[in-house]
């Protein structure tokens, strides 16, 4: 049994894995709707058989000291505890260690992640639901009283639920019914685990909620309740909110190179080959990132490339072959480091905007991909021109518009550039610096339309342009601006252009182009538009 449970466990038990695991667990519980009282209790517990300490330590290479420390602090059966604060970087195994420790101990606990419970009332409800031993659709007569929005109601209900739990456990252990007590888990303690506490800081009215969570021990005054907080941010971020029972900190450091090697080596089909591969790639990647999730994603395509050279998968690589493989993979490493890291971390985008706009996030990702894959998105020709004019409007100072877009089509620009003295170069440097700092500028709709008119007109006059295009521009120019406005809004939707807050003085919306030069140049190349000619460079 123990053996099978090992193989069942995912290779890396990161947070996402443990979350899916807990989600699966809930699913299981919901499916097996049984009216019997004790069976509902297993809601708290892992259905699987509890694991031994050795297996537990084996699951988490490099986490030995942390596992032992948590076990020590949770302590023997029926011993009260001071709240724990588990912290460390992402994908260092905090959540999975804690949940697996409880699996090892076989004690009842409630796991609530502030990531999936994204508002106070949902968090409260989730915890209460878990505690009241039944899901909402099991018994409806309770659900009305649970819709608790306020923390004060939550505390009252939580206290009720906990006392109920404690009394039930007490009864069961009095009866010393062996079968029941195994269903309940061991001991009279109940543990509440709050994961991703750092997310709360971005909620509305967060400081109160954090204080309340950290003061639960004082507010409940129940020795039977053990509290564990899991957070990515260190305790220094919460000092202002923590009450008198400051929780005990447990630090999960990032994995070292050896730990990563050991973790990545697990469950490999061809360990010899993979180990020789890791010896080549792990070091340079380790200098850039230490996060297991990123590394494992980065290594997958690289290993495919590495393996291509080996004809027989069963073959054991010898010294000369290693050499050959190394030579093959070496040139790929540096570019792939840069390439893999491109996908913008979504987490951060959320944090910045503080909003959960799915549309926006997917757009961001999409535009990130576009950067190195060439133009893999489709745009109508006029949209491309509009896009470019937006880019120009963002990059060029508005005062230079007339100089750039006069009838000669920006040729005067070249003349001006030629006479650069020492002083003007310094000024240029200064301007460049300022531009780096300021980022793309914002522009009004009128300016965008004016530039759009100009560049489509210039494109019109170009002798080498095909007549087909010309035909289009004729239509375009004669057409109403409503079309352009529609395209503008779709560009906004795709997050190429962002709408900034309307200027209070002028009273209309301003726009800002958020793409970088590389993409703009690619778009320009695809319609053979001389973008760099119009770009002001300090």
């Amino acid at each position: 049994m123990v053996k099978t449970s090992v193989s069942e466990l995912p290779k890396r038990t990161t947070r996402s894995c443990s979350l899916t695991e807990s989600a699966r667990k809930q699913h299981e519980v919901q499916e097996t709707v049984e009216p019997l009282f004790p069976s509902v209790f297993s809601n708290f517990l892992f259905r699987e058989e509890s694991i031994s300490l050795d297996v537990l330590l084996q699951h988490f290479p490099g986490r030995r000291s942390q596992v032992l420390e948590i076990l020590q602090l949770i302590g023997p059966l029926n011993s009260p505890m001071i709240p724990l604060f588990v912290y460390g970087g992402p994908s260092t195994g905090k959540s999975s260690v804690v949940t697996q420790v409880f699996r090892h101990l076989n004690r009842p606990f409630v796991y609530a992640s502030c990531c999936s419970c994204y508002s106070p009332s949902i968090l409260f409800q989730y915890v209460l639901n878990q505690l009241f031993l039944l899901t909402k659709n099991l018994r409806n007569d309770f659900s009305s009283s649970w819709s608790c929005e306020r923390a004060s109601d939550f505390i009252i209900l939580l206290k009720d639920a906990l006392t109920q739990f404690v009394s039930v456990v007490g009864e069961c252990s009095d009866k010393s019914d062996l079968k029941q007590s195994t269903a309940l888990g061991d001991g009279k303690m109940i543990y509440l685990v709050f994961d991703n506490v750092e997310m709360i800081r971005h909620w509305d009215g967060s400081s109160d909620l954090i204080s309340i969570l950290f003061k639960l021990q004082d507010l409940l005054r129940m020795v039977e309740v053990g509290l564990i907080y899991i957070s990515r941010a260190g305790p220094n971020c919460y000092y202002a909110n923590i009450g008198s029972t400051e929780p005990l900190p447990i630090f999960f450091p990032d994995y070292t190179e050896d730990d990563l090697y050991e973790i990545l080596m697990r469950n490999q089909v061809n360990p010899k080959l993979y180990s020789s591969f890791l010896r080549v790639v792990l070091k340079p990647f380790y200098r850039v990132t230490r996060r297991l999730d990123e590394l494992s994603i980065a290594f997958q395509p690289l290993f495919e490339k590495y393996r291509e050279q080996v004809s027989d998968p069963k073959l054991l690589p010898d010294e000369t072959m290693n050499r050959r493989l190394f030579d093959n993979i070496q040139p790929h490493i540096a570019p792939s480091i840069d390439e893999i890291m491109k996908v913008s971390s979504l987490q951060l985008q959320q944090d910045n905007t503080g909003k959960f706009s799915n549309e926006k996030r997917s757009a961001k990702k999409f535009h990130g991909n576009a950067a190195y894959d060439g133009l893999d998105f489709h745009m109508s020709l006029s949209t491309k021109y509009l896009f470019l004019s937006a880019f120009l409007a963002s990059r060029n100072p508005p005062t230079l518009d007339s100089a750039m877009f006069d009838s000669t089509g920006g040729s005067s620009n070249q003349k001006r550039k030629r006479k650069s003295s020492e002083a003007s170069r310094q000024e240029k440097d200064h301007n460049l610096q300022a531009m780096l700092l300021k980022g793309p500028g914002s522009f009004s709709l009128e300016r965008l339309l004016a530039i759009f008119q100009c560049i489509t007109y210039v494109a019109d006059c170009y002798p080498e342009r095909e007549t087909l295009d010309n035909q289009m521009y004729e239509d375009e120019r004669s057409g109403a601006t409503s079309d352009v406005l529609l395209q503008l809004s779709s560009l906004c939707e795709a997050n190429f252009i962002s709408k900034s807050a309307s200027c209070s003085l002028e009273g209309f919306t301003r726009y800002r182009c958020t793409v970088d030069e590389i993409i703009a140049l690619k778009v320009a190349r695809s319609i053979s538009f001389p973008l760099s000619k119009y770009l002001y460079r300090g």
């Binding site: 004060s152 260190g234 450091p253 700092l437």
Partner: protein, 423 residues
């Protein structure tokens, strides 16, 4: 024999942990001191019970100094002495800081206590009228209502209608109640509005952190096993004699001194002892000086340093670049200027690992996540990460220390940092 000993040790550790989590046990000796806060508070409240008068008092002191624990002791003892003559209403500023909800909570608790039906939909006016009526009724029945307002300072944030309502109701002759405010803000009474302050009796009880000698006495009281401990007698004597040896050791006094120097509150000491007890070796079953030493090291952490030590080499490069920019007195910089600096370093020193913009941006995001750096602006719409101005959240000294303790830190980084800072 060994098993028996291990069982005894486990039992002992459970007992010690239970003691550490039981504030009544820890603060019990305060009962005996005649001029302590316990006696003062008890005298004050029992006086107003027996004399049938109104009173109000503030209990002030830093966090973790046992304000609430002492109050609980007093209330428990009073309940023993005057069984049916008191009823306690507890409010917490965190939960009931809002005036309306505070009133509601008072009404709810009073209803619960006196077996009345509580209506959820009663308005704030109804509730405050109910409060006045209840106070009159209780006064006529010679029953004292004790209001405990925890986190008292938070009640003063709004219009203070709750405080005014409570204290104003106490002005009448028939009522008989005590308002006890507990706060960690020493200036809590200054926060009161004039109309509230004038109705408040300016009694204050101040809790001060205990001296090192007191702490040592407390440690001894907590850790010594009782003689009637239900295990082989020799285990208790062995355990206690080992402890006695540790307590007189000068090294132990140093450890205790270092713990109380950082934070001299009792709760900090309890956390420290909890670490000690939880690291109790079940095989020998005895505490050693090493337990105390490791606990004192693990309880005080330096999250910033840990974060620096966690950072990858590329992230360190970015940190050093930011530091260089700050030394150059650039008052505002963003990712692009950092990248420029980064490229400049690589051009100047020809170091081997120069990464592209994407990897650097990712490392930059990691730094943001680690909270070693942060944006200076909050939510400027539309600007992408590269352009938003950032700042360092670590001091040059911390960065220096972090690099020093970093395993296999590139020499060039240290050189760059030293060159700039300690020229």
């Amino acid at each position: 024999m060994v098993e028996k000993k291990a069982a005894a040790a486990a039992e002992a550790s459970v007992l010690l942990r239970r003691r550490l989590c039981d504030s009544a046990f820890i603060f019990a000796p305060l009962r005996s001191s005649p001029d302590g806060n316990y006696s003062k508070l008890k005298f004050l409240i029992s006086n107003s019970i027996t004399e049938a008068c109104n009173n109000s008092v503030l209990i002030l002191g830093p966090r973790g100094s046992g304000k609430n624990a002492v109050l609980e002791l007093v209330l428990e003892d009073l309940r023993g002495e005057y069984q049916d003559m008191i009823s306690v209403v507890r409010l917490n500023g965190l939960l009931h800081g809002d005036d309306n909800y505070g009133m509601k909570e008072i009404a709810r608790q009073l209803c619960l206590e006196h077996g009345l039906l509580f209506s959820k939909i009663a308005s704030s006016d109804d509730n405050s009228r109910f409060l006045i009526d209840m106070l009159r009724e209780c006064g006529l029945a010679h029953k004292t209502v004790i209001f405990v307002l925890d986190e008292f300072d938070l009640f003063t944030q709004g219009k203070q209608r709750l405080l005014y309502g409570l204290l104003d109701a106490m002005q009448s002759l028939v009522s008989q109640s005590v308002v006890i405010g507990v706060s960690c803000r020493l200036d809590a009474d200054q926060l009161l509005e004039k109309r509230v302050r004038s109705r408040f009796s300016h009694r204050k009880l101040l809790f001060v952190p205990p001296s090192v000698e007191d702490l040592q006495r407390l440690v001894e009281r907590i850790l010594y096993l009782p003689a009637d401990f239900s295990s082989p007698c020799d285990f208790v004597t062995e355990f206690n004699s080992k402890l006695g040896k540790i307590f007189v050791d000068k090294k132990f006094k140093d450890v205790l001194g270092s713990v109380s120097n950082v934070d001299g509150s009792i709760s900090n000491l309890l956390r420290f002892l909890f670490r000690v007890v939880s690291s109790l070796d079940l095989e020998s079953g005895l505490l050693s000086l090493d337990n105390f030493k490791t606990a004192s090291l693990s309880i005080h952490r330096h999250p910033k340093m840990e974060n620096i030590r966690n950072a990858s080499i590329l992230e360190l490069y970015l940190l050093v670049c930011m530091h260089r920019l700050e030394v150059k007195e650039q008052n505002s910089y963003n990712f692009n200027s950092i990248m420029k600096e980064y490229k400049a370093i690589h051009d100047a020193y020809k170091s081997s690992d120069c990464r592209g913009g994407n990897a650097c941006l990712r490392a930059f995001e990691h730094l943001l996540e680690r909270e070693l750096i942060s944006f200076t602006d909050t939510r400027r719409g539309g600007l992408s990460i590269e352009y938003r101005p950032v700042k360092l959240l670590v001091s040059p000294h911390e960065l220096h220390q972090g690099l020093k303790s970093y395993p296999s830190c590139p020499v060039i980084l240290q050189k760059l940092l030293n060159h700039e800072t300690y020229k």
